[in-house]
């Protein structure tokens, strides 16, 4: 029982977007207060100083190169992790023996701390693409878990239709099973995208590729430029939220619509 009544009604108390604006105002007020209390801009810079620094950084080529490269690596890693996760889930869902053998590998991957993967991978791969590989490795078990749960819950009716009409494996997969699990996969993708960003940027901080937001954060830390760290963090938050919003928008439009035209 909800002690505070209907949650939906409570959420609708503010017009759309007002809650977000209030949150931003509150966060800025707390940030400003803490910055004034600490009175050390190299530890906690004021919001207005960060805004000025953001504008200074945004007019440099290096800033956009870092954003572009990080975005590319995270997206490549995320896409590879999702595709590999679903591809691993398909045979595991179809054949219990395959699942029994390979499921522990995926479970182990899920429990290993990301920093272990990063340090190990640093020995093996080039720093330029390390964060993409780390993002993929972090997304893979999430995608696998989401896909296998979705495949396990596929309606028996769909399987029977495929069986009665003797649909081939590819037709079953692309016409029935994948569209049927697409809404659940998109929800998984939203979680995976957040993970890809966190792990990818962490990998950049440790691997220090030539261009990357993680490298920017590391160099700012070495130079005690707290304002730069805040700028990079804010850029990461904005891009991550924008991509998550786009994915959620896709998810809200499912079931998808295939026309025969």
């Amino acid at each position: 029982m909800n002690l505070f009544g209907d949650g939906k009604r409570k959420a609708a108390a503010f017009p759309r977007g007002v809650g977000t604006v209030l949150f931003i105002v509150l966060a800025l007020a707390i940030w400003e207060t803490v910055a004034l209390a600490v009175a050390a801009p190299y530890i906690v810079p004021k919001p207005q100083d960060v805004a000025v620094r953001a504008v200074e950084l945004m007019v440099t080529t290096g800033f956009w190169q870092a954003v572009g490269w990080s975005l590319l690596r995270v997206l490549v890693g995320f896409a590879c992790g999702m595709v590999l996760g679903v591809a691993c889930a398909l045979p595991m869902a179809a054949w219990p023996h395959v699942r029994a053998v390979f499921a522990p590998f995926v479970k182990v991957m899920r429990t290993v701390p990301v920093v272990c993967f990063i340090l190990l991978m640093l020995l093996w791969v080039n720093a330029t693409w390390l964060s993409a590989i780390i993002s993929a490795l972090m997304v893979l078990p999430v995608a696998w878990t989401g896909a296998i749960e979705a495949l396990d819950s596929i309606d028996r009716g769909i399987v029977e239709v495929a069986r009665v009409f003797k649909l081939g494996a590819m037709r079953r997969l692309f016409k029935l099973y994948l569209p049927a699990i697409a809404p659940q996969l998109l929800s998984t993708a939203v979680v995976g995208l957040g993970l890809a960003w966190k792990s990818g940027i962490t990998a950049e901080v440790l691997a220090l590729p030539m261009f990357g937001m993680g490298s920017g954060i590391y160099h700012a830390k070495i130079a005690l430029e707290a304002a730069d760290i805040f700028v990079w963090a804010l850029v990461i938050i904005v891009i991550s939220l924008a991509m998550e919003t786009a994915l959620r928008a896709c998810a809200s439009h499912f079931p998808g619509w295939e026309t025969s035209r």
Binding site: F165, P179, W257, S260
Partner: protein, 183 residues
């Protein structure tokens, strides 16, 4: 096709108790009985979706088509794509849908269809699949009298070259059957 002593129980409740019948190669065969008598279960056994506890189906062809009681149309495809899913040409699917009064709904979403239109789209899919036997579970359910008559005309035309087995309560269907299995 011969049904020999088919028996089926679910959780100790006997649903089919020794069904015997000889079915012709073509024609319309009705399976009649009260709700819960096992009509759908019999169709599921004929489709190979359920195994009988005892007895057997002899001479069952490899390709058997089904119109499921709950339609099982997919919301991520339009009506035409739902029918061509079974591997037929667009032209065949269009002709079937037109003959069932769905000419204007070829590219409609499944959720835009009424219950009766869904029923007819599911029937079109069943007939679009090249099979020697079609199993129809309540083919006239949710149809008005005019639509039911249209559907039965199409069913009867198909009966010249295939066996159609229809589980039904509808007297209109029973009247058109050459054989009725009362279970």
């Amino acid at each position: 096709m011969k049904l020999a002593g088919l028996k089926k129980s679910f959780d100790g409740t006997c649903v089919l108790d020794g069904i015997n019948a000889d079915l012709p190669e073509h024609g319309l065969v009705g399976v009649a009985g009260v709700s819960g008598a096992g009509k759908s279960t019999l169709l599921r056994i004929l489709a190979g979706l359920e195994q009988p506890d005892a007895g057997r189906v002899e001479g069952c062809p490899e390709r058997v088509s089904v119109q499921f009681e709950d339609d099982r149309l997919f919301p991520w495809m339009d009506v035409l794509a739902n029918v061509t899913l079974v591997g037929c040409d667009d032209a065949v699917a269009v002709e079937l849908l037109e003959s069932l009064g769905l000419a204007g709904k070829l590219h409609a979403r499944v959720e835009e269809l009424s219950g009766g239109q869904r029923r007819r789209a599911a029937l079109a899919r069943a007939f679009a699949f090249p099979a020697q036997v079609a199993l129809l579970d309540e083919p006239t359910a949710r149809l008005d009298e005019e639509s039911a008559s249209l559907v039965l005309d199409v069913v009867q035309r198909r009966c010249y070259d295939m066996l159609v087995v229809a589980a039904t309560h509808d007297k209109q269907v029973i009247d058109r059957c050459s054989i009725v299995l009362q279970i």
